[in-house]
């Protein structure tokens, strides 16, 4: 350290050295602290994205191979998307993603907002109700999946119980039905996340200036108008945060599908993440798995980037 200080031409008076050194250290400290995490992110997120993209153009099977062999993996996915009849696993995965993503995000937002508005009516026992709704979020997807698997299983759960109580005509076998199994994933997912969305909205509602509400009430706005015209538009930033959190949870909900349905009858509950894992690690077709991962990334970017851009641009204006 001392050699560095003495050779530095700017430092002339001896007594100023400690102050200057400390000043420089203070300047540098944030960078030093950030450097490892920056490097780690750079390598382990962006580096591996590039690596995955590269692998998708090779003929990698069990282990990565580095000789480029063209876009064969993409050609296969393309064929599986548009020409396969009956539907391929890939086609099933992406249609399931559309169904699940749309319903999961939509219902969570709607239900979360609805619960938040109800809880915001200054009711008694809010302190108890709030954690009750929020608690499912503390469970992992695996626990949620297994619990709902038992609950929805016609031989063990709801159906069996109601039959015991005498309602023998009751029939609910979605979890064993190839056409409906994806909706059971929506049910379990919504159950887990809507309480969390509620908490976000509740925080947003509490942050709204009471004066605006009072003014609107004096102007004669009904409760419905109040929420529709004033409160919900003011909650827009919360919508953005909730949407981003939910969207990424929808995309990564691999474990929920596995725990709840083990892939569903004939693989009918697969999401693209299941497809990616299955092909990369179980079927030893790393190139196809990588290609599917890249397609997922591009699809997400195509949705999230314009949305973020429009939201953030509006804020800057």
């Amino acid at each position: 350290m001392s050699t560095v200080a003495t050779t530095d031409p700017v430092l002339t008076p001896a007594q100023s050295t400690p102050i200057s050194l400390r000043g420089r250290l203070q300047d540098a400290l944030p960078k030093i602290v950030l450097a490892p995490s920056f490097v780690i992110t750079l390598v382990f997120v962006y580096g591996f994205i590039v690596w995955t993209a590269y692998l998708s153009f090779t003929n990698s099977k069990t282990f990565p191979s580095y000789a480029l062999t063209g876009a064969r993996a993409y050609q296969r996915l393309w064929r599986w998307t548009f020409e396969s009849d009956p539907p391929s696993s890939w086609y099933t995965s992406i249609t399931n993603m559309a169904i699940f993503g749309f319903l999961y995000v939509g219902i969570c937002l709607a239900l979360g907002l609805f619960l938040a508005i109800l809880l915001d009516q200054k009711i008694r026992g809010e302190g108890i109700l709030r954690p009750i709704f929020l608690y499912p979020m503390a469970l992992s997807f695996i626990v949620t999946g297994v619990a709902w698997k038992w609950f929805l299983d016609p031989g063990l759960g709801l159906e069996q119980t109601l039959h015991h109580f005498g309602w023998t005509s009751f029939h609910f076998d979605w979890i064993k039905n190839k056409d409906f199994v994806i909706y059971t994933v929506v049910i379990a997912g919504v159950w887990q996340a809507s309480g969390f969305v509620m908490a976000m909205f509740l925080a947003g509602l509490r942050g709204i200036d009471g004066e605006i509400m009072k003014a609107a009430q004096i102007d004669g706005a009904s409760a419905f108008q109040l929420y529709r015209r004033i409160v919900i538009p003011l909650l827009r930033p919360i919508f953005l945060s909730a949407f981003i959190v939910l969207a990424h949870m929808a995309i990564k909900s691999y474990d929920l599908v596995v725990a709840l349905t083990s892939g569903g009858p004939g693989g009918s509950a697969w999401l693209p993440s299941n497809f990616m894992y299955e092909y990369t690690f179980k079927r030893n077709e790393m190139a196809v798995g990588s290609a599917s991962a890249i397609i997922m990334l591009m699809t997400i970017s195509a949705i999230i980037v314009p949305y973020l851009y429009s939201e953030l641009k509006e804020k800057a204006r």
Binding site: V4, I32, P86, S89, K176, G266, N284, E285
Partner: protein
């Protein structure tokens, strides 16, 4: 100076990373990656642990979070990619060859010569344990897949006898249905459905056809009318499954037979381990028959201990493990518990029960008669990509995504072609 500090931090980070991967392994220790955790399996492995500790080698399980073969294989892949090889790993079929091709497997040829493995291990197994003339894996057992497991009490109640043909099997299932018992216990997971289909194809097309279609992947056979007939037979037999079968684990399906809720399960002989664990005796509590029409042939899979290319100082432990694994005493003790039969044909069958004795005799006959075939559903007929494509098609057929046998055959040819 900023740059100086940043560089230092990065070098320190890199050094820390390098240090972790350079952790030395204990030379008197057998590091073993496996997914045998159920009671019987763990008890069976204890025999091996004791054999090794007598020779002074400690046993260390390589922990795999999540359990199950898939998680273990992913963990193994990561270890191999990082260059920290375990001494050995439980592996199946084509996986061994994959790793051997990647050049990470050790060479046990010397030990094999000394112990005479070439003569005692069936040639069909050597296809997977010998690569390029070198022994790279030690087979632990032979499971066969074409079995029927029947609850004897239910069989007596409905007055059934051993079915000799596919039609007789269907007649038997009809009897069970009429008596109000679930005729066929099946778990609707793709590997279980495909395992049953293995037997159906062998029964429908005969040994020659099975080999050509499911081991040689001959396109003409895959497209043939016999294959269509096999799918039709699958459609017939699926009608005898209870509506709640989808996603059920295989051992729960076995439990249905053990408890007498169901008459029969078509499953590999690991199902016998469940019967034995439930204190049931062959011929008094349960019956084991070959799938009708497959007598004389054996569709097999085998658990192998793949041996990795460990440094010389760890080699002694590996040789000890391999020798102990293929010793007659271990082969007998382990397989009595596991339900399978020994991987060498010269192990006496004295300790085995009736089903085990039959299994050993069948294996010997099939080995000599050339009717020992790798199970496609279990990863011994073709590499994983193709085996999984096959399981997909069978499962989609069972669950109704593929509706006719014509379509199924078309899909099967296409899927296998894609995966090649």
């Amino acid at each position: 100076m900023n740059r100086f500090l940043t560089t230092t931090a990065m070098i320190a980070l890199a050094l820390a990373g390098a240090h972790v991967s350079a952790r030395a392994a204990d030379v008197k220790e057998v590091q073993m990656l496996h997914w045998w955790t159920s009671g019987g399996e763990a008890a069976a492995l204890n025999v091996l642990k004791q054999d090794l500790s007598k020779e002074g080698f400690a046993w260390k399980d390589v922990p795999v979070a999540g359990g199950g073969g898939d998680a273990a294989m992913t963990a193994l892949k990561a270890m191999v990619a990082a260059g920290t090889y375990p001494t050995a790993s439980q592996m199946l079929g084509y996986t061994v060859l994959d790793y051997a091709q990647a050049g990470v497997m050790g060479d046990l040829t010397e030990t094999a010569k000394k112990e005479g493995w070439d003569k005692s291990v069936p040639a069909a197994l050597q296809k997977f344990s010998v690569y390029d003339g070198k022994w790279v894996a030690a087979p632990v057992n032979v499971h066969s897949v074409n079995w029927l497991w029947i609850n004897k009490a239910v069989m007596d109640k409905i007055g059934g006898t051993q079915p000799k043909s596919f039609d007789e099997l269907i007649a038997l299932l009809d009897k069970a249905k009429a008596a109000g018992v679930i005729p066929l216990a099946l778990g609707g997971q793709n590997w279980q459905e495909a395992t049953m289909f293995d037997s159906i194809v062998l029964s429908t097309g005969g040994p020659e056809f099975y080999k050509k279609a499911f081991n040689d992947l001959d396109e003409e056979s895959l497209k043939s009318d016999t294959m269509k007939k096999s799918f039709d037979n699958l459609a017939t037999i699926i009608k005898y499954v209870d509506p709640n079968f989808s996603g059920r684990d295989w051992n729960l399906a076995t439990a249905m037979v053990i408890k007498g809720d169901a008459l029969v399960q078509v499953m590999g002989d690991w199902a016998k381990g469940e019967f034995v664990a439930a204190k049931k005796k062959p011929d008094t509590d349960f019956l084991c028959y070959r799938f009708p029409g497959t007598e004389g042939s054996v569709v097999y899979n085998s658990d192998m201990f793949g041996m990795f290319n460990v440094p010389d100082d760890r080699k002694a432990a590996q040789v000890a493990l391999a020798t102990a694994t293929l010793s007659k005493s271990f082969q007998s003790a382990f397989n009595v518990v596991k339900g399978s039969v020994p991987a060498r044909t010269d192990v006496p069958d004295t300790d085995f029960d009736a089903c085990g004795k039959k299994g050993i005799a069948d294996l010997k006959a099939a080995n000599e008669g050339g009717t020992l075939f790798g199970s496609l559903a279990q990863g011994y007929g073709a590499p994983p990509a193709i085996a999984n494509a096959y399981k997909d098609v069978v499962s989609k057929f069972v669950h109704g995504q593929i509706k006719t046998s014509d379509e199924a055959v078309k899909q099967l040819v296409q899927a296998i072609d894609d995966a090649r």
